[in-house]
Amino acid sequence: MPAREGTYGLLAEFDTPSDLVRAAQQARLDGWRRLDCYTPYPVEEAAEAIGFHRNKVPLLTLVGGLMGLAAMFGMETWVSVLAYPLNIAGRPTYSWPAFLIPAYEWTILFAGLSAAFGMFALNGLPALYHPLFNAPNFRNGATTDKFFLCLEALDPKFDLVETRAYLTTFAPVSVVEVEY
């Protein structure tokens, strides 16, 4: 695949989450689909404004959790019943109440790890390069106190001049063109 070049998108900077949410809602209403919001902390309304959709993380978490449960409960049963049966105070070798705690711990462990790593994988992380970091105001503000809306060049509505004028109507602090 040849290196992508040209414009990645136009990045509008806002001072408050409210301004960002309003701009994002309007952009979505106006038919924009290739757009994204960048905020220093989770802003649920911004995610909803640009059409937040379901992803596969919950499914991965469920599958991971069930795998952990099955693996640990199976291992305990195998060890205690088949591989190494011991008489402990006359209890049955298949002592399921005692198996539940480690099985539960593994459910949580596997579910947590699946959620975290599944989220990374579905996010395309680790990514060594992202064009947005070419914008100096993004580098400095996205993790501290600025709110960004990026309309991407991949959207069929994108036009360098018209889109810039469109973004300016939301009264952003600045609109920056981002290169690949």
């Binding site: 001072d15 408050t16 409210s18």
Partner: protein
């Protein structure tokens, strides 16, 4: 700041909406119907196996424990939210205050238990231990436990400890309720003073609540079986009260949310938070309940394990399995869902289910304590009392709660959280 521009304003009318009256009437009708059913069942039970009135009393005890959980658990959560702060606390404050003001009704319920103590508690009924042992009324373990625990388990200390507990809860309920009104009359510059004041009352109140609630749980429920003891019992009830009070609070808030002022102040964020909080109690509840079971099961001691055998053998295994499903599996799996916690209609149904599950759990705790039911789950007219008397008692309680809810504005205004709760949801960091 720009986001101030689209903040909402508090409605002028902060009183309870008209729906509270409707709910009160509905609760009273339900209470009347189920009281009649309970009476009929008691007579039928009496004719069948002479246990009709006993079953009525046992079911009464269940109703007492459940409404006690709402009233005193509500008081405890009120103190917790004063100490922790948070917008969810402001949202629940007045409903929780109203719950704590229902204490007189719970006291009335308790008086009935105290009067008929001898029919409920073996240690109260048996005065001559040797004769009871000789006649086969008690077994050796019970005779020994009753004699050994006599200084604690006797009618006088039962009454004194319970009265003391009610006095302490009453004091805290009175203090927090009167100051709550006084705080609203003061000007805004007094807010820091009031926040500190409520913290200073509530902070020590929480351990005092934990101790008195434990004493009540031991005397009222655990001592039904004089031979058995568990050091986690109080904590189990404490968490159980958190479980039922949060479920009830969500029901109240969501039922009020179609009208002002809750239509304005209830945001999805806080509803979601309350759902998460409830979920935590569902987890903690099964953690303690299963922990107690696992320890006693592992120890397998003759002093402890009969309590569980009474509740597992003779078809009680069906009830404990259902209890596990009702009390934990269903609320746990449903409350995991983010969408459900943000959906009013579904969340309210899960919370109603949780209160039913709590009552079901109490049935499993109470009924097998008695000789006729231990290791022997069987149908009788009397056992149906558990589905009648507590319903009537909770319905009476709900009517009383609605009455209390109407006596003051539903939002505390002298609080910095009021401004925050009126902001749009995305202004949260």
């Amino acid at each position: 700041m720009a986001h101030e521009t689209h903040a909402k304003t508090l409605p002028a009318q902060l009183g309870a909406p008209a729906i509270v009256d409707v709910l009160k009437m509905r609760a009273l009708v339900i209470a009347a119907i189920f009281s009649v059913i309970a009476l009929i069942l008691a007579l039928l039970g009496q004719a069948q196996d002479h246990l009709g009135w006993d079953h009525l009393l046992r079911a009464w005890l269940l109703g007492l424990v459940l409404t006690f959980g709402f009233a005193v658990g509500g008081l405890a959560l009120l103190m917790v939210q004063y100490c922790s702060g948070g917008k969810w606390g402001l949202l629940l404050r007045r409903p929780l205050e109203a719950m704590s003001r229902t204490l007189p009704l719970v006291f009335g319920y308790w008086v009935v238990v105290a009067i008929f103590m001898k029919r409920l508690y073996l240690w109260a009924a048996v005065t001559d231990v040797k004769a009871a042992l000789a006649s086969g009324w008690t077994n050796e373990a019970q005779a020994h436990a009753i004699e050994f625990k006599r200084p604690m388990l006797n009618p006088l200390s039962f009454t004194c400890v319970s009265l003391l507990c009610f006095a302490i809860w009453g004091f805290y309920a009175w203090r927090l309720n009167t100051l709550g009104l006084k705080r609203d009359k003061d000007s805004a510059d007094t807010t820091p003073f009031w926040i500190k004041k409520f913290e200073n009352i509530s902070g020590p109140g929480i351990p005092v609540y934990a101790l008195t609630m434990t004493a009540a749980a031991i005397y009222w429920v655990m001592s039904l079986d004089p031979t058995w003891y568990s050091s986690v019992y109080g904590l189990l009830f404490l968490v159980g009260q958190g479980y039922q009070v949060l479920a009830l609070s969500i029901i109240v808030v969501l039922m009020l949310s179609n009208d002002e002022p809750y239509r304005t102040i209830l945001r999805q964020t806080e509803q979601h938070d309350l759902g998460k909080f409830t979920f935590a109690f569902v987890m903690l509840n099964i953690y303690l309940a299963f922990g107690q079971f696992l320890i006693i099961w592992s120890g397998n001691l003759p002093e402890e394990i009969p309590w569980y055998l009474d509740r597992i053998r003779g078809h009680w295994g069906i009830i404990i399995t259902l209890d596990f499903i009702f009390h934990w599996l269903i609320p746990f799996t449903l409350l995991l869902s983010r969408d459900l916690k943000r959906n009013k209609k579904r969340l309210i149904w899960v919370c109603r289910w949780m209160i039913f599950a709590k009552a079901f759990d109490l049935f499993w705790l109470i009924e097998p304590n008695f000789k006729d039911a231990a290791r022997n789950l069987h149908f009788s007219w009397g056992i149906l009392e558990y589905a009648a008397m507590p319903v009537a008692m909770v319905a009476f309680w709900a009517a009383y709660f609605c009455m209390q809810l109407k006596t003051r504005p539903l939002v505390q205004t002298n609080d910095p959280h009021v401004a925050e709760i009126l902001e749009p949801e995305h202004v949260q960091a």
